[in-house]
């Protein structure tokens, strides 16, 4: 609020100020405030929040009459994206439901112009969708977006439209395009809603939604607060539809909850806001209690005078039963009626309507249509424009309704109103139609299909009506309803009077269907006969599905599981929604029981696939049944792998069924349990073969299968290469070392040889002279010792090159590939993923481990103790890792690293031995070969020692500190602290750390990098990403790639290239300073004889130390000074330089660019010798 603006809050001099002001003054103050602030929403909110609602209601109602208010001072700008929605709503929630309702009412009234325009569009959309005029639907959705901006309504309908018209792939493409705008969870919710919308068109919505209960709950359990405004919308819908066992939703028995919910919904876009509110209204009047209805009533009445679509609902019956029903076969007939209506054939339309209504085919849009027809037909008598008349009717009825909720009185009024505006005949007919619906609804509506609100008199509803009340119910029905064919039919069904049903003059399909329903319990075989007799005659999809569902049910009752599965699967092929009506669970439970002999049926595994893929949204622990059915079927066929079925297809299985079996059943998560495969790689290879076959067998989905095969191939390649790269960490380039040794030591060796040879000549000469007096033993010893010393120096210098040379030395290899990052993060992640350790803060203290606390727990002695335990544990873990890095995985020499396991100490025995053998060497090369061989043996011995240490001592060390942790937490007794949960995580960490140490021990083997196949650069990126995201499972990096696919590199380069990307990703994780999700972009292009790799990532503003960056750049330029390579810590760029310059042997240039909030590294690598 701007300083000094006249606001309702600061009007008046007393505490609340209201009593000091006259109504007119308050009115003017409010008006002034709204105009000055140019924000109606905020103005209304302030008014309502700070004043007595009753008084403010009068003021704001008065304001409603003002043009500025109606038009909207600032208007509702359509949101450009979801991020724009809800920004201006920043007031606190209203303290009670009444104020929320007032806010909503006024908010919607001020937006009524737009809402009505939207409703008109929505009505057209529903109409066109019903007619399958998808082209027009597209245009209308576009129009909606242009006119009103983003809305969930549009997204959901677009998903539904794409799903209906273009299939899953188109829907998926659209959904993918929205991911940035609405994150994954939001998208999932939209998809669920659109599925329920489609379901409304076809099947029983309540059944569908109940089935989806768990999935909704799962999604809502992880709602992201920042997107609350969207999810609340859907959350509300869940409350509405997914009623608990008592038939009541909690939200409609708790005004406080509803109030909070309404507040959250304010953050939606206008049209979504309206749809939410109208849904709530419908539900309050159907499932809410009397008190709540009375709360809502005046506001709803007010709204109905402004918004065409607002519905007044109040019937005892509907309130009592409180459920939705849907009449599936209505759609086909409605379509015909709409066609006639559109063609202006109102009489024709009415003809269909009368016929349908007489058969109980009451469908809410149809009633609306009839009303419209009658109005148009009556137009020449009394009406000039139907819209104003309807508005007047609504206004009058609204007034009437606000005085009494007695439906009979309202009906009486309605008759009067209609009589004054329509000719008496038309009025009577309209009333007759409305009366049929009136037993559930009093509907006053001009536009909108309003499918959600339809409730009809069907036998299904009457099934749940207590038999004792039947006569009373009939006696209450208004004429001519009580004696209609439809009610007699309904009564016959209710009484299960098959004879009466048979005699009624009503459609045979309908009669057989309900007769079968009645027979299901007692005589399922007779039901099967009846249903089969009408199965071929049913053309309408939804009805056909219902007949199939009844048949499946009947088969199950007769114990004919094979027929049930067969029919179920084929009905599913026709429509995936069949799972929600087709006794899916019952079939699955029978399969699971193992009591039926169904090994020979391909449908058993197919039912399981449908059950787990389409019916159960979450992974079920019974999915082993799926595998068993798969396994048993293959066993029955005498084959071990599915591809064998392709080679020799079974004669009694249709192509379609086999295709579905291959596509849906033979998936990796089913096949991997099979004993036919010895590894997961074999499973993936089998699936790839299956996909390749499916491309030809199922051409409609060829792209999907080809994509899957490509993805799996890639995954297989990455898996294999990753493992190989992981186990190719220690590599000794003996040829490179030989060159360095030759360059540095050869001259010394020649001196040594010369000296040694001369001393021998001298000795020989002494012996030859046989002059013992001049034997010169003392000198001889001196000379002998010097030669040995010279050799010793040569051996040690060679050893030093072997272990410490900046280019080819073993220590560089250990530093770059093992000690730098990966080892530590991989070990630590075993504890991080189980929330057992925390990182240090800038002050070097371990952060508090909040995971194990219930939110809001106050500081206490127990908590401090637990914090201390976790800090100590984190310190112990880091200590072991540090010991491993700093002391153990180090080169041990005479002077350095006494605990290092890479023992290269050279003792006197070694020198003596070498010296004694030195005469056998014919050349320097011989000596070097021998020494290199010896050092390689040393290396292998050291690697073996490290492997043993890791799987033995280090594992024990970790197990010991886990034991200590477990003992420490055992004594803690606090309701805020989950000891049981922590123990489970400790148990998991035990297994994980042992497994990880075993994995890591495999790094410590000497390898030859030339065993890799040539590969695309993107594979190397994928491998690096997999490794880094695994080892930093709590801080994964979302990497976008733009890589020239023509960059194919020689296989030998893979470990080094992967290492380079690992270092780059590691930099993002450790140095970007970003708090939220980490992201980076990798781009690689080919330019003449160079590859240019750029990695860019956001960094925390002001995080970059520009002075340090300049220092790094200087050192990279002066690369000859290579001492930085083996230095631990730093950015890793020196190590990248070393990897490219030395290990890959390529010219290169590394540039750094950074701004306040981004960092990028550009690496140019000469391609000579590395490209294929």
């Amino acid at each position: 609020m701007t300083q000094g603006a006249a606001s309702p809050e600061n009007m008046g001099g007393t505490e609340r100020g209201t009593d000091m002001l006259t109504f007119k003054q308050k009115y003017n103050a409010s008006k002034k405030y709204i105009i000055e602030q140019k924000n109606i929403k905020r103005g209304i909110a302030s008014l309502i929040y700070n004043y007595d609602p009753d008084k403010i209601k009068k003021i704001t109602y008065a304001l409603c009459g003002e043009a500025f208010f109606r038009k909207g001072v600032s208007g509702y700008n359509k949101p450009g994206s979801f991020a724009d929605i809800g920004k201006s709503i920043n007031m606190p929630p209203f303290p009670d439901l009444r104020r929320s309702l007032l806010w909503y009412t006024l908010d919607l009234i001020s937006g009524s112009g737009q809402i009505n325009a939207f409703l008109s569009l929505k009505s057209r959309y529903d109409h066109e969708f019903l007619r399958s005029n998808y082209e027009m639907c597209d245009k209308l959705l576009e129009e909606c977006n242009k006119g009103f901006g983003w809305s969930l309504w549009e997204i959901e309908n677009r998903i539904a439209l794409l799903s209906e018209r273009d299939g899953f792939d188109a829907q998926k493409k659209y959904v993918d395009s929205l991911v940035d705008e609405v994150n994954n969870k939001g998208i999932n919710v939209c998809i669920l809603n659109c599925q329920s919308m489609l379901c409304e068109q076809r099947a029983n919505i309540s059944t569908y939604l109940k089935r989806r209960h768990d999935e909704y709950n799962r999604l809502f359990a992880k709602v992201d607060d920042s997107r609350l405004f969207m999810y609340e919308y859907v959350k509300y819908r869940t409350h509405v539809y997914l009623l608990d066992d008592s038939g009541k939703s909690k939200i409609y028995s708790d005004p406080g909850l509803l109030n909070m919910f309404l507040f959250q919904c304010q953050r939606n876009a206008l049209i979504d806001r309206y749809l939410i509110f109208s849904d709530i209204v419908a539900d309050v009047f159907s499932v809410g209690d009397d008190k709540l209805r009375q709360e809502f009533l005046p506001y709803v009445v007010d709204l109905s005078g402004h918004i065409h679509d607002m519905i007044l609902v109040n019937t005892a019956f509907y309130q009592k039963n409180g459920y939705y029903a849907f009449y599936p076969e209505g759609s086909e007939n409605i379509r015909r009626a709409f066609d006639m209506y559109s063609a202006g054939d109102y009489e024709g339309c009415m003809e269909i309507a009368r016929e349908l209504l007489n058969q109980s085919e009451i469908y809410f849009p149809l009633v609306q249509l009839c009303a419209k027809c009658l109005i148009y037909l009556g137009k020449e008598v009394t009406l000039t424009e139907d819209q104003p008349i309807i508005e007047r009717i609504i206004q009058k009825l609204k007034q009437r309704f606000s005085r009494s909720s007695n439906i009979d009185e309202v009906q009486a009024d309605l008759i009067k109103i209609l009589s004054t505006h329509l000719s008496s005949n038309w009025a009577k007919e309209l009333l007759t139609i409305l009366s049929k619906v009136n037993s559930h609804f009093l509907v006053l509506e001009e536009t909108g299909a309003a499918v959600n609100y339809s409730a009809v008199t069907t036998p299904d509803i009457l099934f749940d009506f207590p038999a004792a009340n039947l006569d009373g119910f009939i006696s209450q029905l208004p004429e001519p309803f009580a004696d209609s064919v439809s009610i007699r039919f309904s009564m016959a069904v209710r009484k299960k009077d098959l004879g009466a049903i048979k005699e009624l003059d009503i459609d045979e399909v309908r009669k057989s269907r309900y007769s079968a329903l009645i027979l299901l319990d007692k005589d399922p075989n007779a039901a099967i006969e009846l249903l089969n007799s009408i199965k071929g005659r049913v053309k309408v999809g939804a009805l056909s599905q219902e007949v199939d569902a009844l048949l499946v049910n009947a088969y199950l009752r007769t114990g004919d599981l094979l027929s049930a599965m067969d029919l179920f699967v084929h009905a599913f092929y026709d429509n995936v929604n069949f799972t929600y009506i087709g006794c899916t669970d019952q079939i699955f439970q029978k399969i699971k029981s193992g009591k039926y002999s169904i090994n020979s049926s391909i449908f058993a595994p197919l039912v399981c696939a449908i059950y787990f893929n389409h019916y159960l949204p979450q992974k079920d622990r019974d999915d082993v049944v799926w595998h068993i059915c798969y396994d048993e079927y293959l066993e029955y066929r005498g084959v071990k792998k599915p591809t064998e079925l392709i080679d020799d297809p079974p004669g009694d299985v249709s192509d379609l069924d086999l295709t579905h079996f291959l596509a849906e059943v033979c998936v990796p998560n089913v096949m991997d349990r099979s004993l036919a495969f010895d590894s997961y790689d074999e499973v993936l290879n089998e699936r790839i073969s299956i996909c390749e076959t499916l491309v030809k067998r199922d051409p409609n989905y060829a792209d999907k299968y080809a994509d899957e095969a490509k993805r799996l191939n890639n995954s297989l390649l990455v898996r294999l290469a990753k493992k190989k790269v992981e186990n190719s960490k220690v590599y000794i380039d003996t040829e490179g070392l030989r060159v360095i040794i030759y360059k540095n030591v050869c001259e010394d060796y020649e001196r040594y040889v010369d000296y040694e040879m001369n001393s021998i000549k001298y000795i020989m000469q002494l012996f030859d002279d046989n002059d013992s007096d001049n034997f010169g033993l003392e000198n001889f010893h001196l000379k002998l010792f010097s030669a040995r010393e010279m050799l010793s120096a040569i051996i040690k210098q060679t050893r030093d090159i072997f272990v410490a040379d900046n280019r080819y030395g073993l220590d560089g290899c250990l530093s770059v590939r093992i000690r730098h990052g990966t080892l530590e993060s991989q070990l630590r992640s075993c504890f991080e993923r189980h929330k057992l350790v925390t990182a240090k803060d800038v002050g070097g203290q371990y952060r508090s481990n909040n995971y194990w606390y219930v939110d809001g727990q106050p500081r206490s002695e127990t908590r401090s103790k637990v914090d201390q335990i976790f800090s100590q544990f984190s310190a112990k873990v880091d200590e072991i890792i540090l010991h491993l890095k700093r002391d153990v995985i180090q080169i041990k020499t005479e002077k350095k690293n006494p605990q290092g396991l890479f023992d290269f100490t050279i003792n006197d025995y070694f020198i003596d031995d070498a010296y004694s053998k030195s005469r056998e060497y014919y050349s320097f090369d011989d000596l070097v070969s021998d020494l290199l061989q010896t050092y390689l043996v040393y290396t292998n011995n050291s690697l073996s020692a490290v492997r043993s240490l890791l799987v033995d001592k280090i594992d024990k060390d970790f197990q010991r500190i886990l034991n200590e942790l477990e003992l420490q937490i055992r004594g803690i007794n606090s309701k805020h602290f989950s000891v049981a949960g922590l123990r489970a995580q400790i148990a998991s960490a035990r297994t994980d750390i042992s497994t990880e140490l075993n994995n890591i021990s495999e790094w410590f083997r000497l390898t030859q990098p030339d065993s890799f196949s040539d590969y695309g650069l993107s594979i190397a990126v994928s491998i690096s990403r997999e490794i880094m995201n695994y080892s930093h499972s709590n801080r994964t990096v979302d990497i976008t790639e733009e890589i020239d696919q023509s960059i194919i590199l020689q296989g030998r380069t893979m470990p080094n290239i992967v290492e380079i990307f690992k270092i780059l990703i590691d930099n993002v994780i450790k140095h970007s300073g970003v708090d939220g999700k980490l992201a980076a972009a990798i781009c690689a292009t080919r330019e003449k004889d160079k590859i240019v790799i750029t990695m860019k990532n956001p960094v925390k503003p002001n995080k970059i130390d520009h002075r340090q960056i300049r220092e790094v750049e200087d050192r990279l330029r002066a690369w000859e000074n290579q001492d930085y390579t083996s230095r631990e810590g730093g950015s890793g760029l020196y190590k990248i330089k070393k990897l490219i310059s030395v290990d890959l042997g390529c010219g290169n240039n590394i540039k750094i660019k950074c701004s306040d909030d981004s960092f990028s590294v550009q690496i140019e690598v000469e391609t000579r010798g590395i490209l294929v």
Binding site: N669, R673, S679, V951
Partner: protein, 145 residues
């Protein structure tokens, strides 16, 4: 008596083997995954299975990552034994108290009801707590004698 232990945690496996030293008459074999475990159970005859509940699909080896981990691999094994009518008694030895929202007591009840022919009971393994060895020994003794 031939006993097979299916356990992927080497430390736990060693502890269990240690606890079984009081039965010199039994022959012990062990496997470390769902796949290798099921394979041996189908090809050889055993009298008793000491079964871990959570295991990887395949043995973890130098060139094999083990595939996915099955949180209820033990239950799946029991399912297979029951379906294939393999006669063997099974004692679950687990270090977890919760399995995807199912408590150990609930799991015990479920396994008792679903696999009465095979399932004997469970031992809650915890290296820092005493008592699990005794319980295991007692249950095995009941099976032997």
């Amino acid at each position: 008596m031939n006993v097979i232990i299916l356990e992927d945690d080497l430390n736990k496996l060693a502890s269990i083997r240690g606890a079984l030293e009081s039965f010199p008459e039994i022959n012990i074999q062990s496997n470390m995954s769902y796949h290798s475990g099921l394979n041996i159970l189908l090809s050889q005859k055993f009298d008793l299975l000491l079964l871990d509940m959570t295991m990887p699909i395949y043995d973890i080896k130098a060139q094999e990552t083990g595939g996915r981990t099955l949180p209820l691999a033990g239950r799946d094994i029991l399912f297979q034994l029951s379906r294939r009518k393999i006669k063997i008694k099974v004692i679950v030895v687990t270090q977890y108290e919760d399995f995807d929202g199912l408590s150990l007591v609930e799991l015990d009840r479920e396994l008792s009801s679903e696999f009465p022919e095979h399932y004997v009971g469970y031992v809650y393994y915890n290296i820092t707590q005493e008592g699990w060895q005794e319980k295991l020994v007692e249950m095995i003794s009941d099976e032997i004698y």
